[in-house]
């Protein structure tokens, strides 16, 4: 395998193995997301007429906060066990370390979202099997995981790491979340491709920007 891709795959597999053993990231994020759905479902009376207006917001509140929870754990585990320092001592580029961690965060978030989406759909009364909705979720999650991984690496170096991550991270990821809410609204409302057309490229552009900038910034973040 390619010299650059191999370490990404090795780090990715290591994190999956750790999660299979500890199960602390996916389960906590999924339970949190599920609770958000339950609370909103009882707090708001989501009628079929209001579903297009309310469901996307509820959906992305749950995804965003559950994702933040998952992202935080990813680097806390590395920091607590000295694994990050161990990784930095290997002859692997910082970019590869970053992309390995971001890729696994992306996967964990997708798993949580895949578990939550059908529950949302049943409770709020919309179709989860919309190609445009799934595409929106995948694209927005990619940007979310990329920026989240970077800010998780920054936040883990601070004392109040659990608070610092959302404080630092949400202002940067806001354009992607706004785009995701708008695109999801169009997808759930059955607008098809018309309205969604302007939001998906926006999310795609931010994803591309984040994928270039974040690995580069990461090398400075982990530098002492």
């Amino acid at each position: 395998m390619n010299r650059f891709l191999q370490p990404i795959a090795i780090i990715f597999w290591k994190d999956i193995l750790l999660e299979l053993r500890s199960k602390d990231i996916i389960i906590s994020a999924a339970v949190f997301g599920f609770l958000v759905v339950i609370v909103f479902n009882f707090a708001l009376n989501v009628t079929p007429r209001l579903v297009t207006q309310l469901a996307p917001g509820i959906l992305w509140v749950a995804f965003a906060f559950a994702g933040t929870l998952a992202m935080n754990r990813s680097f806390v585990r590395e920091k607590e066990q000295g694994g990050l320092e161990g990784l930095l001592l290997t002859p692997v580029s910082r970019d590869a370390i970053f992309l390995g961690k971001a890729l696994v965060s992306f996967l964990f978030m997708l798993i949580v979202e895949a578990a939550l989406l059908p529950v949302f759909a049943v409770m709020l009364g919309f179709s989860a099997f919309s190609f445009m909705l799934i595409l929106t979720i995948v694209l927005a999650t990619l940007g979310f995981a990329t920026v989240g991984t970077l800010f998780s690496a920054i936040a883990v170096q601070t004392r109040s790491r659990e608070i610092m991550l959302p404080v630092l991270f949400f202002p940067i990821i806001l354009p992607v979340i706004i785009g995701a809410v708008e695109a999801s609204s169009q997808a759930i409302g059955g607008d098809g491709g018309a309205g969604i057309g302007k939001w998906l490229p926006l999310i795609g552009v931010f994803d591309a920007l984040f994928l270039v900038i974040c690995p580069w910034v990461f090398s400075f973040v982990v530098e002492e």
Binding site: P7, K14, L17, L18, G82, L89, P91
Partner: protein, 255 residues
């Protein structure tokens, strides 16, 4: 410059490193040859760990030249990392992975050939074959340290950096480490170790040096060979000014 052309395993010239406004190392010079075992002594906060972190590319020097195996620690950091093994205060091990899984993970990142055989060999060297498939979190501190040593030597680094490696090790483990390091230097590889244990450091080292005031003092001088003198040097004595202040304070309180 490649490692085979490098005349010295470690070369440090005019190294400066500070944390914020606090200078830790300044104008530090050090040269370590191939096959040499150097032990660094120094009181707490004199920069022993910082020096090892700079040598292992974990910390960036502010100025000066730092070369390991002939490679610059800033410009050729990845080349340095593939030639350096580190035993630090943390074992750099994942608690939910087994000893073997941890070593396989690092071995793959170091691109080691015949990795399974190599992992078995190092586990045997540190006496952990029986516990190879146990999760790290189930091991005692001393056993975790043994696995950390196995991780550090896994890729057969040319330079081994050990930061107080004796912590948590029993007599048997210390004997194992001593014999392993002895073989290491006999094979022409270099070891730099920090410790507060004067007897242990003096018995293992080819050369000793004391870190103080940001630089290396008393390199291999008579002071360094005499454990009593060395211990006195490492114990901070109250300065005359401090004595004066203490006396004055006592006087004021009497008033």
């Amino acid at each position: 410059m490649s490692s085979s052309q490098a005349s010295e395993a470690i070369l440090v010239e005019g190294l400066h490193k500070s944390y914020g406004d606090w200078p830790v190392l300044w104008d530090l010079n050090l040269s370590v040859g191939w096959g040499e075992f150097v032990v660094l002594f120094g009181a707490n906060g004199t920069g022993k760990t910082t020096l090892l972190r700079v040598l292992s590319t974990q910390a960036r020097p502010e100025s000066g030249t730092v070369k390991v195996s002939g490679f610059d620690c800033v410009r050729r950091a990845e080349s340095v990392r593939s030639r350096v093994g580190v035993v630090g205060h943390s074992g750099f091990l994942y608690e939910d992975l087994t000893c073997r899984e941890n070593l396989m993970f690092y071995g793959q990142l170091f691109r080691i050939d015949h990795i399974r055989q190599r992992v078995d060999d190092v586990l045997s060297q540190v006496g952990m074959t029986q516990r190879a498939d146990h999760r790290v979190k189930t091991l005692s501190h001393g056993m975790q340290k043994r696995v950390a040593i196995a991780r550090a030597i896994l890729h057969q680094p040319q330079v081994l950096l050990l930061d107080e490696p004796e912590g948590g090790l029993d007599q048997e483990s210390l004997a194992m480490l001593s014999s392993l390091l002895s073989e290491w230097t006999q094979a022409g590889r270099t070891v730099v170790m920090t410790t507060h244990n004067v007897e242990l450091g003096l018995s293992w080292a080819d050369r000793v040096a004391v870190l103080s005031d940001g630089g290396l003092q008393f390199q291999d001088s008579e002071t360094c060979r005499d454990s009593a003198k060395l211990r006195r040097r490492l114990t901070p004595e109250p300065s005359p000014e401090a004595d004066g202040e203490t006396a004055q304070t006592a006087g004021n309180s009497n008033e």
